[in-house]
């Protein structure tokens, strides 16, 4: 519901005679474009040149983290699959073979082509098992290759293990998000 | 009160007081004979009602009124004798059964006759080994003398008395818990209504009375209600057994009218005779732990059914006082009390099952020097959220857990805060972070 006081009514500005002729504006615009003809290009020649990512929370290829013992950290809770708006995650859960864990993913597929890289899976994950790495170079020769299975996602983790994706600090620290359980949940600032 | 002549404890100290012969020689079983031969059941109930005998088990409900709740056209009545004395530090029933079992049996006969019960179960806690043998021997004696069994004293009244031993559960001292326990189930208190008087043991109308209550009956019948009312105050009439223990010079069980004060009980010559080493009193649990705590400044409290409420206590309870001297760390007391209820909660109602245990965890953390100031508020709040008074539980056990803990935290908050302030800095956080 929009409150009345939030509505700002903008009136159409009155045009002057010259403006109504449009020509000065057109000429002005053409001057601008002409000037840019001679400006320095800002293009980066991508495969040869690579630029540092300026955004820290760039959302690129997913990775499936490993725990301290090198096992997949995922507990197959399907939260990411539930949160995914593009329905690109497919999990098959199974009883885990390890004594300290109840459930683990027998199969974990992400269709990177379907994915819209919104990062919802990352937010939804209760054990920080799925994360979006800043890796943006994602190419393949077939659609099949772009469906990343568990092994491939773990490989991404091994490759990017040093990168700690930066997350929205407001979201971290809910009780039950693994290692941060003692922090107070957000609440007052709502 | 030195001139008070003990009634209930009159046979204590007499040689062979446990035997039928001695008991009879000292005037025993006259009341029972009078009742079964000359009185109707209603006469007995009226007399007891008139005497205003209030239950000695803790709740103080008038015994005669309780009997009056029995449905009129009932076929059978069962009598349960509550000898499951588990409340720390109460031991007056033990004293009664140990020294004068026949007095209890006579009370059972009178109560049984009044309620027209054919069977009486004496539910005795399992730790009373010696008392069980004494009681059972006395019952055997009574059977042999025709005081129990078929056709008591030729009156045509039949009463079987069975001793049923408990197995270590405080909650079986609650009347419905006791009933469930006799039925061979876990001692879960039942939801009321229906009250046991309507539907109790084996779904029959049942009366549950405390040993001490029953021990009063022969004297009421024998000496009359007026005599009974002449002792103590109108609302707290009759003789009462008081226990006093802890670091006092003469711990024990004493009989007195309910006009004495707590101070007298501890300091009086006829009673506790003062504190060991004359240390000041820090706190007293005057009615068993579950009734709550008073400080050393509140010793003027009268030990009757009403006055304790003015001191933030649940009631008189079992009138067993445990004294804490000022050498004692109040945190240890808190933990001990909390542990008792955590371990004895039956686990039926959520608030009690989880709350008592939570309180114990907090209390033991505080004792180990890892408390936080907010823990005091928390433990007080948790304590406030249980019990039958706000309607949150089936039985009164959580009320009993509430009052001592709330009392300790409220009345000794300064000391607790001081302890917390003086404990090793950061220990609470360290302990909590290890825990989680």
């Amino acid at each position: 519901m929009i409150r009345d006081e939030d509505i700002i009514i903008v009136e159409t500005p009155e045009l002057s005679a010259a403006e109504r002729l449009y020509l000065p504006q057109i000429i002005g615009g053409m001057q601008t474009t002409f000037r840019h003809l001679f400006k320095k290009n800002i293009t980066v020649q991508y495969p040869e040149q690579k630029r540092e990512l300026r955004v820290e929370n760039y959302r690129g290829v997913h990775r499936l983290n490993r725990d301290e013992q090198g096992r997949v950290a995922c507990v197959a809770c399907f939260m990411c699959q539930t949160a995914c708006p593009a329905h690109c995650i497919h999990i098959v859960g199974e009883e885990s073979p390890w004594p300290d864990r109840e459930k683990y993913p027998k199969q974990f597929d992400i269709d990177e082509l379907r994915c819209i890289y919104c990062g919802m899976c990352e937010e939804a994950c209760p054990v920080d098992a799925i994360e979006l790495t800043p890796e943006y170079n994602l190419v393949s020769r077939s659609r099949q290759e772009m469906i990343f299975d568990k092994e491939k996602l773990l490989e991404v983790h091994d490759r990017t293990v040093d990168v700690k994706p930066r997350k929205n600090p407001r979201i971290t620290g809910y009780p039950g998000t693994g290692n941060r359980s003692n922090e107070q949940p957000p609440g007052d600032d709502h | 009160m030195a001139d008070y002549e003990p009634v209930l404890l009159r046979n204590v100290g007499v040689d062979g007081s446990r035997t039928l012969d001695v008991y009879r020689a000292r005037g025993g079983y006259k009341a029972a004979e009078k009742v079964v031969k000359d009185m109707t059941a209603d006469d007995v109930i009226d007399e007891v009602k008139r005497a205003g005998l209030r239950g000695r088990g803790g709740a103080g409900f008038p015994a005669g009124v309780k009997w009056g709740f029995l449905p009129k056209g009932r076929k059978r009545t069962l009598l349960c004798v509550n000898a499951d004395e588990s409340e720390p530090p109460t031991f007056c029933n033990r004293v009664l059964m140990e020294h004068d079992p026949h007095q209890v049996i006579e009370g059972i006969i009178i109560a049984g006759y009044a309620t027209r019960a054919q069977i009486a179960y004496v539910y005795m806690r399992v730790e009373f080994h010696e008392q069980f043998h004494i009681m059972q021997n006395a019952i055997d004696e009574a059977y042999a003398a025709g005081l129990l069994g078929k056709n008591i004293l030729g009156s045509g009244y039949d009463l079987e008395v069975y001793v049923h031993r408990g197995a270590g559960a405080y909650v079986c001292g609650e009347e419905t818990g006791l009933i469930e326990s006799i039925e061979g189930k876990r001692g879960y208190p039942r939801i009321k209504p229906p009250f046991p008087a309507v539907e109790g043991l084996f779904r029959m109308p049942t009366v549950v009375n405390n040993v001490e209550t029953l021990a009063n009956l022969p004297h009421i019948i024998e000496r009359g209600a007026d005599w009974f009312l002449g002792i103590g105050t109108p609302s707290s009439a009759g003789p009462k057994l008081f226990c006093v223990c802890g670091p006092v010079n003469r711990p024990g069980c004493y009989e007195a009218p309910m006009t004495i004060t707590c101070e007298e009980l501890i300091m009086g010559d006829a009673f506790g005779r003062g504190m060991t080493d004359n240390l000041p009193v820090k706190a007293v649990f005057p009615g068993g732990t579950s009734m709550g705590v008073i400080t050393g400044d509140e010793l003027q409290m009268k030990m009757d059914f009403d006055d304790p409420r003015n001191f933030g206590m649940l009631g008189l309870g079992t009138a067993a006082a445990v004294v804490v001297n000022n050498k004692t760390d109040i945190r240890a007391v808190l933990r001990n009390v909390a542990r008792f209820y955590a371990l004895e909660s039956c686990g039926q109602c959520t608030q009690c099952r989880e709350g008592t245990n939570w309180m114990y965890r907090i209390a033991s953390r505080i004792e180990h020097g890892a408390g936080r100031i907010e823990d005091l508020d928390l433990i007080e709040e948790v304590a406030g959220r249980m019990g039958m008074m706000p309607g949150l539980s089936i039985c009164g056990l959580p009320d009993g857990a509430t009052f001592p803990i709330q009392g300790i935290v409220r009345k000794f908050r300064g000391e607790l805060e001081e302890h917390i302030a003086n404990q090793e800095p950061g220990k609470a956080e360290a302990v909590l972070s290890v825990l989680n």
């Binding site: 809770c77 609440g187 | 686990g347 109602c349 959520t350 989880e354 245990n357 309607g391 089936i394 825990l435």
Partner: protein
Amino acid sequence: MAKITIDHRVIECSDGIPVLQAALDAGWDIPHYCYHPGLTVVASCRLCLMEMQLPHPKTGEMGWVPKLLPSCQTPVRDGMVVRFDSDLVRDNQKSCMEYFLIDHPLDCPVCDQAGECHLQDYSYKFGSAASRMADQKHTNPKKDIGPKTLLYSDRCVLCTRCVRFTEEVSGTHELCSVNRGSRQEIDVFPGMPLDNPIQGNVVDVCPVGSLLDKDFLFKQRVWFLDGTPSICPGCSAGCAIRVDQNEDVVYRLKPRFNPGVNDWWMCDEGRFGYKYVHDAKRIAAPVLRRGADATTPDWEAIPEIVSYRFAQHVAKHGDDKIAVVLSPMMACEEAWLLVKFIRGVAPSATIATGFVPTSGEAQHFPVGCKPDEAKFTILPEKCPNRRGVELITERAGGNTCDFDAFVKQAVGGAYSGAWIVGGYPDEWVPKDLTKATKHLKLLVMQDMFENTLTEAAAIVLPACAWVERDGSFMNHTGKIQPFERAVRVPQGARRDGQYLFEIAGHGGLYSGERVREMMAEEMSEFSEVGDAPPKPVHQH
């Protein structure tokens, strides 16, 4: 009927039911764990407490009781006033929810109950955001308490519904609570696991994720599942069930409240008996045989082929040499359509009721009770609609017979053409009937799995499992209960109802309700079947 006031709203309810039940029926979401309408009241979870006005013991005047009362245990009285929306009540709920979670492991992500867990729901609705419990949690072990059930005792809230279920409904007493206080757990006696024919219900009555089904364990998260109201075809009791499926895969069956039939329960046989639905060996396409070669015709051509073959057969051999066997696995509507078709092409064709599979005796629960006192019964007749097809056969009039008679006559060569409907999950064809195929020049076989009859049939039509169809079953008491389609048929197949609808000469899409309307014109029994399934009186 009593009139009571809850939160200023006057509701009418039957006398003597608990206030909680009255409030639930009237649409309040009253939190509760230990209360279940099918079990005795223990009033131990203390979550449903409300403020109430009760008559004063002495004056008889109505007045507010100063304490909270368990609404599950207080029966309604006329004129009673109850307050649910009050600070006292909310306060209790909030603290109570905190207590429930004191030792709870909070492992919702791996808990199969998450999504339909009342610990979650109530925490969200009535609880507080954070727990103040900072001390170490007590962890109870996970127990394998039976061949089909797991017990996660650390998630348990000790409502003891499961224990009461085994005591009061199944009467088998496997479950018990052990220890006391906060160390209390649910357990079984070692070596006497929870293994009775209706044990699956303990999973349903469990309001939290403590008792879990091994069959469903970790298979799906419940929020992905879509439930469809259905009727169990396992026996002729006609238990109302819910089919939970996701993407056309049935993951589990759950009972639906159906007063007088199955109440809140269902048996394990029915619960786990749906596995054949996803059997790879099912017949998924029609087969047309001419001599040795078999072809798969288009579904569009089927009505014409079938009608033509029957018409030709009637012209050649006469219409009294044709028989139709109606399987008790069929829905009433399907049977009716088939009868209509056959009577259309061959008015004096014989209509026989199909093979009725039976197994053992009726099992009544609680174990050892008298049949008329049973709270739940598993019937020996392992088909859902014997009475339905019998009714339709009877109303069809003309030549009818039962299955044994049909087999005898068929072996004797009384028929030269037959349409036999199977659809049984298990092997069913009697040996004699196989022998009779040599007499049958035209055999239309409608079945789910290959058997000797489908091998001999000229036309094989795939039968579908009940979850793929819609229609109605008539249970052993004669109650007609509709069920809905839950999943789509396997690729290549078509719903029985649809092709029978077309073969019977109707156009458009088949729907059970539409056919029932047609049936109601001649069979009044079917005029009021289309009602929605009864509203669940109790949600969990």
